[in-house]
């Protein structure tokens, strides 16, 4: 994209108020959970109490007979078609049914569903359904699941390994043998949940002709349409997804969940609209979360600090179904392989089924897990080399306008600056290594850094596209109809800023429309921090086309040449005349009402110039890359084992920050989610049972737990991005766990390799090392 002069920007680069802010502070925003239809019924799902069992029989007669019950469904009432977010990649990855027919694979698996007049009746009816199960041996440990003789969870997947790949280049064994320093460790990243504040909901309604409308809280309406139509035996034209404002995405709303087709089937059967709203306990148990990953990593370097070898063997516990595990493993690997320029790289990854609840996408998508192992080991490597760890990172990190060993075209890159600014802002040289002690509390400061795709991510199927249509209305206001989704991260405000800057229309005359899949131009969806970049580029293209049509219309109405037209505010000027000759509203109205009139509009469809990663990990899957670092300052209480993050500095290269306050919000929010994962959050799953499925016992950080977070934007200008922007939403959570873990090491000299950094784990580690430093 060609760029205008940044010094002349009036709207881009400014922290304008969020365009959705007024409705949100007044309670006017109607989320999916707030919306209802006349005659709407309540749907509820019966879930398996066993981690692995054959369904012998289901007796629904008592539930059917209960007054107020309108429909009862079991797997027998479904088509038996399986679905899976990555089923387009391989049929084996489509392994889930809306309601399981033959067997259940985790405690919480969907078995039957009811629709009733009210919630109480629906819950009563669920209790009246009698299911006879034949319990099967279950396996909860992914290593045990791979052993010969382990229970087979999915027919045809012997050994329970559903996905396996090997990435790499060069000669890792040779490089390790020749290395001056080798560090190695085994790491475990624990399961954590996005905990969006709005629980999942689905509202389904069929019209008389048999067309389905879903009022959905989704990050990817067009993907939901595809998956839903597939599993219902329809085509996309038979389904309309009405996009509702969303109470938190974080990746958890990328894929279709079983409740979507279940609501649709209940609505079909009853002829009435049906809403299923998950309880908080169901949200924890039956929606997706971050994969637990076991990692064994080895790094090698020469004495001068040159990293020469990267070796990773990892095993993901997918849980009962695969969902996006194969993508998560690949994305996590690729990011770790390319955070530094290392000539010899080897990754072996396996994804195993177990009878645990099943994981999938969550902000960062594999990158946070692998980064945890990687950046903790890099700190150890620096120590063994006797090189300042920040300098070691800079020495080996990516540089602008280079190509990585895996074919990634690194354009803008301020990796060095995110580390240097963070060093300064975190007071690194005053705090790090000083082990300042206050009673039983010891202070430490740790760092970690990351790379993340910042210009789209061609990882889901073959598309990374976004569409936009702009229409100028009679009064000169502009409707921006974009497939790019607002999931809370501020995309709609950025889209409005792009249009305002390009068209010269004021923000309050721009209206964002994210209506439904009939009207929105196609878009792959909001994931992989691609919204501002890809959808933003589509919006920019549409704005440019609109401007061209507008100027043609001005020329027609004012009988002048295009090169003589200039627009300031809403006034139209012609060269050589000092007074405005018309206003934009006059031109817009004139375009519609003159004989032979025309629509002033423009379209944009953007697909970045990228390719999918190949089977060895090679390929430029993003048009730009985003870089970040975090510096976590902790106090470790060596008597109680409590780790308190007392301050965090987050620095991110985001390209041009179109809305700096919005970018800061991403850094601050991502960092606190990361701190939660590092310290307090954990899904306690024992023998397949989730033991803490409520807000009070899960461990989301509150305002009291949260430290001051200093968000610092390191700007670059990315030539492929809209006004130079890159993505930022994911990179802000990626390095947090490693930064906190490294800070704990700095404080007390114990290197924790399993998350979270709970008091028990800290005390055990201190005990194992003898007296603390």
């Amino acid at each position: 994209m060609t760029m205008t002069d940044p010094t002349e920007w009036k709207v881009v680069g400014k922290s304008i108020l969020r365009v959705d802010g007024l409705d949100k502070v007044t309670g006017n925003t109607v989320y999916g959970s707030d919306f209802s239809l006349p005659g709407m019924l309540t749907g509820k799902i019966l879930r398996s109490p066993y981690p692995h069992a054959r369904i012998v029989s289901i007796d629904t007669s008592a539930a059917q007979a209960l007054p107020g019950v309108r429909a009862v469904l079991t797997g027998a009432d479904t088509s038996g078609t399986t679905f899976g977010f990555q089923g387009v990649i391989s049929k084996q990855l489509a392994d889930k049914m809306p309601l399981e027919r033959d067997k259940v694979r985790f405690i919480g698996d969907e078995v039957a569903a009811v629709a009733a007049d009210d919630e109480h009746t629906a819950l009563t009816a669920i209790d009246l359904i009698e299911v006879e199960y034949e319990e099967l041996p279950a396996v909860f440990d992914p290593f045990a699941a791979r052993e010969p003789g382990a229970p087979v969870i999915h027919d045809g997947v012997d050994g329970n390994v559903v996905d396996i790949f090997d990435y790499g280049s060069g000669d890792v064994d040779g490089a390790l043998a020749a290395a001056d320093v080798v560090v190695s460790g085994e790491f475990y990243s624990s399961p954590v949940h996005p905990v969006a504040m709005e629980t999942h909901q689905a509202l389904a309604d069929w019209d008389a002709a048999g067309r389905l409308t879903m009022y959905a809280s989704t990050q990817m309406p067009f993907q939901l349409r595809t998956h839903l139509s597939h599993v219902l035996g329809l085509t996309e034209g038979d389904v309309k997804i009405a996009k509702m404002p969303t109470g938190g995405g974080f990746g958890g709303r990328m894929e279709m969940h079983p409740l979507d087709p279940i609501a649709a089937l209940l609505a079909k059967q009853t002829g009435r609209p049906v809403r299923i709203q998950y309880s908080r306990a169901e949200e924890f148990l039956a929606t997706r979360f971050r994969h637990p990953i076991h990692m064994k990593m080895t790094l090698g370097a020469k004495a001068d600090g040159t990293m020469t070898a990267f070796d990773l063997d990892m095993l993901l516990d997918s849980g009962a179904y695969v969902a996006q595990a194969s993508g998560v493993a690949r994305v996590g690997s690729k990011n770790a392989m390319t955070l530094y320029r290392v000539a010899n790289t080897r990754v072996h990854s396996e994804v195993a089924y177990t009878n645990n609840p099943y994981a999938s996408a969550y902000r960062g998508y594999g990158n946070p897990q692998v980064n945890f192992a990687h950046e903790v080991l890099v700190t150890e490597l620096a120590e063994k080399l006797g090189i300042d760890e920040i300098e070691l990172r800079i020495q080996n990190g990516n540089k602008p306008n280079t190509e990585s060993y895996f074919g990634q075209l690194i354009g803008s890159c301020e990796y060095e600056q995110v580390l240097r600014k963070g060093r300064e802002l975190s007071n690194w040289d005053e705090i790090h290594g000083k082990k300042q002690r206050n009673g039983s509390k010891v202070r430490g400061l740790g760092v970690a850094s990351c790379i993340n795709v910042g210009g789209g991510a061609r990882d889901q199927g073959d598309s990374d596209s976004s569409g936009c249509v702009l229409i100028m209305q009679d009064d000169g206001s502009v409707t921006v109809n974009t497939g790019g989704q607002e999931i809370g991260s501020g995309g709609s405000t950025v889209f409005a800023q792009i249009v305002a800057e390009e068209l010269g229309v004021s923000i309050d005359r721009i209206h964002l429309e994210q209506s439904d899949t009939d009207l929105m131009p196609w878009d792959i969806g909001a994931h992989a921090q691609r919204n501002v970049f890809c959808a933003g580029n589509a919006v920019l293209t549409a704005a440019r086309e609109t401007k061209q049509v507008l100027i043609e219309e001005i020329c027609r109405q004012l009988e002048c040449a295009a090169e003589d037209v200039s627009i300031h505010g809403s006034n139209v000027y012609i060269a050589g005349m000092s007074d405005p000759q018309a206003t934009i509203p006059e031109i817009a109205r004139g375009a519609h009402f003159r004989p032979g009139g025309q629509l002033i509009w423009g379209k944009g469809f953007y697909d970045p110039p990228t390719i999918k990663t190949d089977p060895k990990g090679y390929g430029n899957q993003s048009a730009a890359y985003s870089f970040g670092a975090q510096f976590a300052e902790v106090e470790v209480d060596v008597e109680t084992g409590h780790v308190d993050v007392v301050r965090l500095v987050g620095t991110n290269d985001v390209g041009v920050a179109i809305n700096p306050a919005g970018v800061e919000g991403q850094i601050e929010g991502g960092a606190l989610q990361g701190i939660g994962q590092a310290t307090t959050e954990l899904m306690h799953i024992e023998n397949g049972e989730l033991l803490n499925s409520m807000m009070h016992n899960y461990g989301v950080p509150t305002a009291l737990d949260a430290p001051p977070i200093l968000a610092h934007i390191v700007e670059s200008s990315e030539p492929t991005g809209p006004f130079g922007a890159k993505g930022v939403g994911e990179a802000t959570i990626v390095p947090t766990c490693a930064a906190v873990t490294n800070a704990v090491y700095d404080a007390i000299g114990v290197r924790i390799t399993e998350l979270p950094l709970s008091p028990e784990r800290i005390l055990d580690a201190i005990d194992a090392q003898g007296e603390p430093a």
Binding site: L17, G21, G27, E668, L672
Partner: protein, 165 residues
């Protein structure tokens, strides 16, 4: 189920309501009065998304039974504006970008109103403690605390849409 007839003032308007014994205040405002600003999220009074003011006190309306509130006065987010003008706390949340997805925002705003009503000069530590019953998953609380500070500084609100970078 047995119902009780109670009087409730909501946002200055008097209502006589027949409520079931197990009906929560959140159910009443959302389903009987169609005030959907307050949100259901945790269902156990832990996250604050449902926070309303009852006789001036912030309460988690998902664990308060409406039948216990005969004669009470309730304020919801919809009742905060006076004469079409935003409450200073609402202004400050907008100005400070103290929101992202916005789902916790109505409850967060109501809690901040209560905190500042009771102690306009509360320290940041006191505000953090009192806000710890309201969970936000998007913001890291940084800009929410900025919003509280803006109110404390007597900020009069943002006029129009000019940039503030």
């Amino acid at each position: 189920m047995k119902t009780n007839s109670i009087s409730l003032s909501v946002n200055g308007e008097d209502h006589t309501l027949d409520v079931q014994g197990n009906e929560t205040l959140l159910d009443t405002v959302r389903h009987a009065l169609f005030l959907t600003g307050a949100k259901m999220s945790c269902e156990e009074g832990r996250c604050g998304s449902c926070t309303l003011l009852v006789d001036g006190n912030a309460v988690a309306s998902c664990i308060v039974l409406t039948s216990d509130l005969d004669g009470a006065s309730v304020t919801t987010i919809e009742g905060l504006q006076v004469g079409g003008k935003l409450h200073p706390v609402q202004e400050a949340f907008l100005e400070a970008t103290g929101l992202q997805c916005g789902y916790c925002t109505p409850g967060m705003v109501m809690s901040c109103v209560s905190i500042l009503d009771k102690d306009p000069t509360a320290s940041e530590e006191q505000v953090r403690t009192k806000l710890s019953g309201n969970i936000c998953r998007c913001t890291g609380y940084v800009k929410i605390l900025d919003a509280v500070r803006l109110v404390q500084q007597g900020h009069q609100g943002h006029q129009g849409q000019e940039a503030r970078s």
